[in-house]
Each structure stands twice: as structure tokens, then as C-alpha cells.
């Protein structure tokens, strides 16, 4: 039976961020991941490090998001130095387009509220079509405007995951590709089991996406999440023309465009819906009419792991101290704060930071 300080269940963006952060804090860590064709939110990510609009109704979430965004540059640099992998990280501000007047007006109200709630730490600009044209010459004529915030950025989410795995390994972390079959609290420790082996550890962190739902109750926790499908289109490589991330369109470092998105209630169906991707195509052409002749080479879908209020879950078990559960659908944006802040907090052996108390799943026990 192998002993570890911590076991992280889940090798996606959240699990790998935490596992890396724990290894970085000097812990002996094991990370467990599922087999190749398992459901993986980490592979379906758009790649945005997005601040504007997040937590408009929950200032704690807005603050948490900004805390991560602030640390991203150093985080990206740290991973690159350690692994040699360039994450294609850029934080030069992002646009969220408004396609009608009502949307524009509503957006301004939200942006203003976020600014006030943040004591002016958050900042934004509202741009009309004419102003947008100065920065984005290809903008379509029917786009009413956009909100711009210098806080927004983007990164290659797949390279981020790869870098986290590589860094984790370099710092002595052990990765096991084997689903967890059982989890037991034994006195002051935990036993994590796969079909073949048992592992003992002092702490267990559940970051297993949908599997959290079944694992959490074993350690006195609750993770009520449900799937929501989002579809993304990727195009052939085209000449660079979009140098900022936007909410619906993003150009990657090698020239391909990512186009999103959709919000579908289809359970665990990871298929493609022609009508939905048609909407994505129409919207992309509205925003940048030049895209009319650009070809899609792949459409894919992924399942967001959502809570009822759209906010994350961070929990430390009271009945089984040392067990934690994490869930969020913003694994990219929050990667920095997960790796740096949450992980070091767990490594020190404590409860999670007081600022995260409001994200306990207890808020659903009403």
C-alpha cells in the first residue's frame, strides 16, 4: 500500500492545477485520472481567462476571479520555465459583443455594477460600432458594440493541461490512470482504492468533475452538479486578424479560429446538433462577415459541470477533515488561484480560505 500526503482525484484542469500546486508546496502527491475516452471537460475548453461579467451578482466570485487573473502572468511564466511549454498566454483585454441595443444597455449596467462592487479595481469600456472598428477593422456592421475589459485574456487550454501534468511529474508527482472504485475515511487518514490497489493518504481532494457526485458523500460532502452541453467550432488556419480574445470568437496562436458557444440541456450526450452549430456559424458571420468563406474543420461538444447558481463549489469536510471537494466550470480562469492559493492552503493542513466559505455546497441545503 503506497502512502502519499495527498491524493487528488481527477486529472483535468482543476485536478491538475491542485495536484501541481500541492507538489509545488513540497507534498508527496498522487493524481488519479480516467481512461482515454472518459468524459473530460478539460478537453472541450474555449481557452478564455475571463473576468468581465463573472460574478456580476456575487462580488465574492468576481473578487476570486480577479485574484486569479492577476496571478496568471506569473503562473504562465512559472510553468514555462519549469516545463519549457509555451502556453500561448496573452492578457491584452477582451471584447464581449452586443448584438442588439437591449443587450448593450444591459451590459453597461452589469459592467458598472461590477466596477462599483470592486471598489474600482475592475474597469471596462463600452464601445460602439464605430469605436470597435478602430480596434477590430473586420467587425460586422450590425454589431451594436461591445464591452471591453483589460482584465481578460486567453491561453491554449490543452497546453495548459499538458504543462500542469508535466510540471507535476517533474516535481515528483505520481499519475495513475485508473478510475477510483472506493474511498474511505479511516481515523485521521484516507484510503483511496482502484480495482487493483489501495493507497493511503492524509488528504484527499476531489476534483473529478461529474464523478465528484458519487465520491463526495463517501467523505461527508455533497457536490450537486449537472451537465450542460456547449459546442465549439474550429476553423482552418487563416491569416492572423484577431489579436484579442472575445466571448464568441478567438484566434489561436497558429491561426485557427475557435467559435462558440451554446448552452444545451441534453444530459450526458456529447454529440453534435446541426441547428446549434448553425447558430454559432450565423453569429460568427454577424460579428466578422469575412468569416463567411472560412471553413470549419471540426465541431465538438463538451459538458460544462454546472451548479444551480453557476458558482463554484469549494468545500472542506467537517465529518472527515482532510477531505476537500472542488468544482467549477471555469477551470482555465481559476487555474492560477487553484494552483497557487487553494493548493498551498490545503498543504498547510487547514480549512480553506474564509473568502471561499460562501462557495460551500451547504448553500444548496435550503
Amino acid at each position: 500500500m503506497s502512502n502519499f500526503d495527498s491524493v487528488v482525484v481527477g486529472g483535468g484542469l482543476i485536478g491538475a492545477s491542485i495536484a501541481y500546486g500541492l507538489a509545488r508546496s513540497g507534498q508527496r502527491v498522487a493524481m488519479f485520472d480516467e481512461v482515454d475516452n472518459a468524459i473530460r471537460a478539460a478537453r472541450g475548453n474555449f481557452g478564455l481567462i475571463w473576468v468581465q461579467g463573472k460574478g456580476a451578482n456575487n462580488p465574492y466570485y468576481a473578487t476570486w476571479t480577479r485574484q486569479s487573473a492577476k496571478q496568471w502572468p506569473d503562473f504562465s511564466r512559472e510553468l514555462k520555465e519549469l516545463t519549457g511549454i509555451d502556453l500561448a498566454f496573452e492578457q491584452n483585454g477582451g471584447f464581449d459583443f452586443c448584438l442588439n441595443e437591449v443587450e448593450f444597455a444591459d451590459r453597461q449596467i452589469i459592467m458598472e455594477k461590477m466596477t462599483v462592487d470592486s471598489d474600482d479595481e475592475f474597469s471596462y469600456e463600452m464601445l460602439n460600432n464605430g469605436q470597435l472598428k478602430q480596434v477590430l477593422p473586420n467587425i460586422g456592421p450590425t454589431v451594436i458594440g461591445a464591452s471591453f475589459s483589460k482584465w481578460d485574456g486567453h491561453v491554449n487550454p490543452l497546453y495548459l493541461l499538458k504543462a500542469l501534468h508535466k510540471a507535476f511529474k517533474q516535481l515528483g508527482g505520481k499519475l495513475y490512470i485508473n478510475p477510483i472504485t472506493d474511498l474511505q475515511h479511516q481515523g485521521k487518514a484516507f484510503q483511496v482504492s482502484t480495482a487493483t490497489t489501495n493507497y493511503a493518504c492524509e488528504k484527499v481532494i476531489l476534483a473529478a468533475g461529474f464523478s465528484n457526485k458519487t465520491l463526495a458523500p463517501k467523505v461527508g460532502l455533497n457536490v450537486p452538479v449537472y451537465p450542460q452541453r456547449g459546442e465549439i467550432l474550429v476553423t482552418e488556419k487563416v491569416k492572423p486578424f484577431l489579436h484579442h480574445p472575445t466571448g464568441y470568437v478567438r484566434q489561436t496562436q497558429d491561426g485557427g479560429l475557435l467559435l462558440g458557444d451554446s448552452h444545451e440541456d441534453v444530459g450526458f450526450d456529447e454529440g453534435t446538433n446541426i441547428n446549434e452549430i448553425q447558430q454559432i456559424a450565423k453569429r460568427a458571420i454577424t460579428i466578422f462577415p469575412y468569416l463567411d468563406s472560412v471553413k470549419i474543420i471540426r465541431a465538438w461538444s463538451s459538458l460544462r459541470i454546472l451548479t444551480r447558481d453557476g458558482l463554484p463549489i469549494y468545500d472542506h469536510s467537517e465529518s472527515c477533515p482532510g477531505a476537500y471537494a472542488l468544482s467549477s466550470h471555469s477551470g482555465v480562469t481559476l487555474a492560477a488561484v487553484h494552483a497557487l492559493d487553494v493548493a498551498s492552503c490545503i498543504a498547510k493542513g487547514d480549512s480553506l480560505s474564509p473568502s471561499l466559505t460562501c462557495f460551500s455546497a451547504k448553500r444548496f441545503d435550503v
Binding site: 485520472d33 482515454d36 475516452n37 448553425q278 474543420i297
Partner: protein, 461 residues
């Protein structure tokens, strides 16, 4: 039935597709055939109508054998849409395709996938250099446009390689060298299947005659080699091969590679059809029953698109699939399906009897399917090398999907057509499991690239 609804929609107008279409039409079904080329015949009988007015006897008799199929197809009442790129096939039998920049939808009661085969990847060092093409490309240049390449080097194994060499020699075109990569051990291994192949003795003799003709022509013919690579920086400068421990060089500007063909599986996989690994053919095949019915109800697969068996077999399988589809939609009875399919089944069995011999004889050596030189490019589109793949496997990638997300392998416009097989076999070798256990990329629409404008303009079905 409205304008865009059909009894049977057939994707592909090669021997399988047109045989199925003609037969279905004969039984008064309403048929639509979609093909991305501008004339029927697929790759095997490509440009066969155009070539009737040229003096092209060196294209060979087996090519000419396709003419009656195409003529019968033309004479039928099938709705034939050429230059149609099929980009989506849903499992409720709606086909989305584009012609001249406009997208259309058609609904079928039954769908037949007859998209044929493609060249097997040939990942040797230098295979992406400017000046390297497939032997299939040489065939297409010849058939479609009467264009040849003088003083090229042909490298590989398989009937198509000998065919193109034979055609070039018959037409008096100079070949710099033919480097035969057929593993010596294959001859011995194939012997035990030769009795099964005696039914198509004609083909075997023909292949042997071609080989003899190559040797007699004085063309430099090299065989029993242990390795081969292509040299150059911006384009090909030479081919190098290793024989008896010594590396030898042949200067050239153009190289044609070929080591067999494999089914075009992306269309079937995107529709949700199940697949299996065929160890003797070292490729994926689409699971079908004796009538060509796939694992998805209402979708059948015929010809080389399900498994490689050649043009004559494809025509039989297309006909059998058509009869079964007609039966599924109550145009013929199941009794008639059995009766009418008898002659096709007989001919098919004769063709299939030769497969073990052909497949074993021309099975490419594993070193040309899974390279050892780590700077060999595996994914041509995204320029991913074997070294990058091995690094990601060391990081914990245990399958094609995770490998894809770590390396971008398979993410380019060809969507894994030229790297998928290699990746499955590389993972199998590195992880010491079978290719069957590794699996293949998850294939998603569009089957072929489609513009945003086309997608946006599509009317609802």
C-alpha cells in the same frame, strides 16, 4: 416524397456506389448519388468516360472493366449530383452536402456509405518533403489528365505500385528506380493461402507478369531492403535505402510512395458506426453484416469503405447492399433479396477467397507503419513528430484522444486520415497493447470542411 427525400441516398460513385444505385433504380427506388468528383467511377475507374476518346490501352483491362458499370449508371434514372461534398450524416439519415458553395440537406429512408479507400500513410523520414506524392496520385494524374512524371523513384509494396509501374513502362515513361519494400518473409507466409487465391488466378498471374515486365524493362528494381528514407531540405534530393547493411543513394526530384490502401472510415465513424481492428490487413474496418448493414439502423456500408477487397468485390457488395436496403423499405421481399443476391454473393466469395493471399503478401513491414526515427513526422497537417508523441505518452497519454489534446496530432484539416492509423499503432507499440485496445480518434462532423457561410445558409430539413 418531397424534393429532397429519397428512398436511398448513396455517398460515393465508385464501383460499389454505382452498382448499388443502378440496381436500386432498376427496382424503381428513388435514388440520390452524391460524389465529390466531377464524373462517376470513384478512384478505381476515375475519368473512365473521358479516357474512351484517348488512346490509352496502357491503362489496362481491369480499368476498362469498369466501363459497363458506369454506362449502366448513366443510363439509369438515378439522381446523380456530382461535385458534392458530404459533410454531415446524422443517425436519423439526413445527409448534409455542399455543391458550389451552397449547402443542402437530403433525407433518405436508407443510406449507403460507399466512400471507398485512401492510401495508407507511409511515415518514413522525409515523406513530407516537397516532391513526394503517393502512387495513387500518380494514377490519378495519369487517368484524369494524362500527365506523367519522368525519372521518379517509386517506393513501396502492393498491387497498385506494380500497376502504375506497368502503366508507365507500357507507355514508355522512364522510371528512375522501383524500391520494393515487400518484406521477404511475406512470400513464405502467403504461400499457405495460395490455394484460396487460385480462384482469381487471372489476377495473380497478371501481377506476376507485371513484375516480370518491370525486371525485363531494365528499370532499376531494388528489393529485399531493410530500410528506406527520403533526403532533402526544401524538397527531395534523393532516396536512400539500406541493403545488406549498406546505405545506397539514388538522386531524384520526385518520389511516389505506396503501401496499400485502407478504408475511408471517417464518414462511417462520424455517423456512429462501429469499427474493428483487422490484424491481417493492419487497419480498421467498419462492422457490417452479410448484407452490408452497419451497427446504425438504416445505414449500410459497401465496398472498400468497409474493408479492402478491390473493385470487383465492391461492385458485388454494392449490389447486395442495394437489395438489402430495398428489402428494408419493402420494395422487394426478403425472399427476392435472397434469390437476387445469389449471383453477386457467388462472385463476391470468389473475390474474397484471394484476399488472405494478397493481404499477407503485401502486408507492409511494421517499421514503415511505426517508424523508429524519432524526427519522422507523423501528423502531416500539424507537423507533429514521433518524438513529440513519445514525450506525451511518457506524460501519461494512453489513447488517441488524450494524445491529440497534448500534441495537436489529428487536429488538422485531414482530421486524422493520414495519421490516425500510425497513431493507433504507435500507441499500441509504446504501451505494449493491441491496436484494438488503443482505439482510434473520435471522429466528429464535418466529414469534410464546410464554410461558415454554407452552414449558415442551410435550410432546415
Amino acid at each position: 416524397m418531397s424534393n429532397n427525400e429519397y428512398d436511398i441516398i448513396i455517398i460515393g460513385s465508385g464501383p460499389a456506389g454505382i452498382s448499388a444505385a443502378t440496381l436500386a433504380d432498376h427496382h424503381k427506388a428513388r435514388v440520390l448519388v452524391l460524389d465529390e468528383n466531377c464524373a462517376p467511377g470513384g478512384q478505381l475507374y476515375r475519368a473512365i468516360e473521358k479516357n474512351q476518346k484517348n488512346d490509352n490501352e496502357w491503362l489496362g483491362q481491369s480499368y476498362q472493366d469498369g466501363l459497363p458499370l458506369v454506362e449502366a449508371f448513366r443510363e439509369s434514372h438515378v439522381n446523380y449530383q456530382r461535385s458534392a461534398k458530404v459533410w454531415h450524416l446524422s443517425n436519423d439519415k439526413v445527409v448534409h452536402y455542399s455543391v458550389n458553395g451552397k449547402a443542402y440537406a437530403a433525407k433518405g429512408r436508407q443510406i449507403l456509405i460507399a466512400t471507398g479507400a485512401q492510401e495508407r500513410p507511409f511515415p518514413i523520414p522525409g515523406w513530407t518533403l516537397n516532391g513526394v506524392m503517393s502512387a495513387g496520385a500518380a494514377q490519378i494524374l495519369l487517368k484524369e489528365s494524362g500527365v506523367v512524371c519522368e525519372n521518379a523513384v517509386f517506393v513501396g509494396t502492393g498491387p497498385l505500385l506494380y500497376l502504375i509501374a506497368h502503366q508507365y513502362i507500357s507507355a514508355g515513361i522512364a522510371i528512375k528506380a522501383i524500391i520494393d519494400t515487400t518484406p521477404r518473409g511475406n512470400y513464405l507466409r502467403a504461400i499457405k493461402y495460395v490455394f484460396g487465391a487460385l480462384g482469381s488466378i487471372k489476377n495473380i498471374l497478371q501481377g506476376w507478369r507485371w513484375k516480370r515486365e518491370i525486371i525485363r524493362s531494365g528499370t532499376l528494381y531494388i528489393y529485399n531492403i531493410s530500410d528506406v528514407k527520403i533526403n532533402g531540405i526544401n524538397s527531395v534530393v534523393s532516396v536512400e535505402y539500406c541493403q545488406k547493411g549498406k546505405w545506397k543513394n539514388i538522386d531524384c526530384k520526385y518520389v511516389f510512395l505506396h503501401q496499400g490502401i485502407t478504408p475511408e472510415i471517417n464518414t462511417s465513424l462520424s455517423a456512429g458506426c462501429n469499427k474493428s481492428w483487422n490484424e491481417r490487413q493492419a487497419c480498421w474496418t467498419i462492422d457490417i453484416d452479410q448484407y452490408g448493414q452497419s451497427s446504425v439502423k438504416g445505414i449500410s456500408v459497401a465496398g472498400d469503405a468497409s474493408s479492402i477487397a478491390g473493385g470487383v468485390a465492391a461492385a458485388q457488395r454494392g449490389s447486395i447492399a442495394a437489395l438489402n436496403m430495398l428489402c428494408n423499405i419493402d420494395i422487394i421481399s426478403s425472399n427476392n433479396r435472397e434469390v437476387f443476391s445469389k449471383p453477386f454473393k457467388r462472385k463476391l466469395n470468389a473475390e474474397m477467397a484471394a484476399r488472405p493471399f494478397i493481404d499477407t503478401l503485401f502486408r507492409p513491414h511494421s517499421r514503415y507503419r511505426v517508424p523508429t526515427s524519432s524526427n519522422t513526422i507523423i501528423c502531416r497537417c500539424e507537423e507533429v513528430t514521433l518524438a513529440q508523441i513519445q514525450e506525451s505518452i511518457a506524460l501519461g497519454c494512453k489513447g488517441p484522444s488524450q494524445l491529440k489534446s497534448f500534441t495537436r496530432c489529428g487536429m488538422g484539416p485531414c482530421q486524422g486520415r493520414l495519421c490516425g492509423l500510425s497513431v493507433s499503432e504507435i500507441l499500441a507499440k509504446e504501451l505494449r497493447v493491441s491496436a484494438k485496445q488503443i482505439g482510434y480518434y473520435k471522429i466528429r462532423p464535418p466529414i469534410k470542411p464546410v464554410t461558415l457561410g454554407e452552414l449558415a445558409s442551410l435550410d432546415e430539413v
